[in-house]
Symmetry: C2
Subunit: 411 residues, 2 copies
Amino acid sequence: LNAIIVTIGDELLQGLTLDTNSSWIGKNLLSYNINVTKTLSIGDTSNQIVFEIKNILQEEFDFLFITGGLGPTHDDITKSAFVRIMNDELVFDENYYLELKQKFSKNSIKMLPMHRTQALLLKKGDIIPNDFGTALGTHYSIDNKHIFIMPGVPTEMKTMVSKYIIPKYIKSDPKNMIITIKTIGITESHLSEKLNFLMKKYSTECKFSFLPSYKGVSFRITQTKDNSNLLMLKDQFINQIQPYAYGLNDDTLELIVSLKLTKLNLTISTAESCTGGLLSKLLTDIPGSSNYFLGGISPYNNKLKEIMLDIPKSSLEKHGAVSNDTALKMAKNIRLKTGSDIGISTTGIAGPGGGNKSKPIGLVYIGLSTKNQDYVKKYNLNFNRNINRIVTTYKALNMIRLLINENNFES
Amino acid sequence: LNAIIVTIGDELLQGLTLDTNSSWIGKNLLSYNINVTKTLSIGDTSNQIVFEIKNILQEEFDFLFITGGLGPTHDDITKSAFVRIMNDELVFDENYYLELKQKFSKNSIKMLPMHRTQALLLKKGDIIPNDFGTALGTHYSIDNKHIFIMPGVPTEMKTMVSKYIIPKYIKSDPKNMIITIKTIGITESHLSEKLNFLMKKYSTECKFSFLPSYKGVSFRITQTKDNSNLLMLKDQFINQIQPYAYGLNDDTLELIVSLKLTKLNLTISTAESCTGGLLSKLLTDIPGSSNYFLGGISPYNNKLKEIMLDIPKSSLEKHGAVSNDTALKMAKNIRLKTGSDIGISTTGIAGPGGGNKSKPIGLVYIGLSTKNQDYVKKYNLNFNRNINRIVTTYKALNMIRLLINENNFES
């Protein structure tokens, strides 16, 4: 089965908004064995929308997903374009208008005359509910082809797809034709070297690809024959690259760390200097994080390292804030202060300023402290401020993962 | 002048890689007054590349930018597709091959047989140099239309565009034909209402568009006639929507807040519960943040609110952690503890769990404390955990902005 995706909006063409909708839809359809053959972004111009959609309707596809241009302002013209494309008409839905009125009044937002257009619905189409916004979606069915028109706001679109479109129009169960193994702490070429003989062995039934990013390298196995058992096969690959593989598919490192902390009933606290709160932010991204995350401190100012973390002024003056010694004390003291099982710290020079010959930009120390051991890892990173902070944070998360993996906490 | 962008690669359609190239090119062309009319992503299939590009060649455009599929591996087929599209042929460039050989040996990387294909060049095209990678770009010129074929790796592509394509083929100076006014704290429709008469007044010389996001609504003015003075015109729009407009174009709220704090020589500290460090992360994203950011605490656990922020257990028990009272005490105590000019706090129920009838998911309190005043704002948000946290953080940043705007610190 094939799909085409069209995203509508001048902001996409002018680089003001990144089109994340196409990518999200493509990824989700793939798990139902539906291939996206192309994606198209076009502007808020009625003639162009009509021209491009009419062209696509001549092509081969099973599903056409369209997002954007359903809002109440003057540049939202997707519905009127579809009046032309489908020889349809817009009808005013009194019931939905009343529903909207109640929604606005409940949220104490003033309803404006322009909001009336949100109750104008395409007559020949079916409604797709919108759980979060005011713009309803529309579904057309022509010659066994399905067309879905959805708002461009990602959360609204995603809920429409997952909750209404997939169960009603796609129906099939998701298939595991693709598995992504997520790794951290190893480069793409070294990963490739370790996996080379396995890739050769299975080259007739699988395709392989590597996707490096600042958060680690993803390795993807795509099954090309239906008869191979991907779930069993993947374990051979994972075994070959331990301890670098931390999860599968949509797993994030912060999720894996949080699951392990929860499972072992461990608590953690953070003391962040160069990462400024990013580590505690990621550790609390996960629902239920209060089970393991006790708290964090970002003592940016040196005086606060003294006051809030009891790091002696003399030691800060001797070793400097960016040092093995400070990282170690930060990790240990936040652990003792909060009573957590694990204390972790970051201190470094993220850039663009602040570096010198002995402590260059990119120099980072990450400290880890438990009841049984305290240690520090030192890195020399080579990115910009933003990426240096992200890389440091993921290295810290990986240190937590490895610490727990090594069964340091099982008795 | 119009442009079309085509990005090539299965990973774009399968949601493994986000297409950031189209967005970057679109944004950069706009400053040279070149409009991107559409962008297209297609897979690594020779027939499809030939079909789509041949179709586009029939359309109207001045520039066609193509990225991706120029690497040395088996799925890089853009060059061979262009042999078919242009009736061209691939010729082996001995000099470039020697150059490559030296590059590899200089970087101590083993050159593989497959790298030979990087020296196969399209005969009818001109070469576009690649400062970072091995894949050269190609330029074709047909009937005053320019076609650029570039690698998909963003740094390689960006340097080709900025350093070689724009100076050689676009030539013109960048124009300020577009201004984006960034706002926060007002909805798209209310902004539209406030600006309606101005939009009507200038409708013959400008185009207007709104871009809502969780971080606020951007309002964009695009000049359609060369004679209007956009820089002066924008002030009329800004005056109409105070105090919601906080910046222009690429300004972020955290940048604006940091600039104001720095300018007024003010210091700030944070006490975050529901946002878990995101606010301190954003405040320290800006280089030089140590000038204004003293430090932050994320006392996730209630006991830490007592220990680290001196909030009495009795008061926590009486009002709850998510309350006006706790938010106020958190803001005041972090300010006093760190000695900062401004203390700001967040506490709320981000979801998906933890809500009840009297304190539902999405209930958030943001506290602000200065020497002269302490106050709390309460919000009922309606998103998922992640977005609730982002929205809370931006509302907090906006409270800081408004506090400083009101000249509370000027004597």
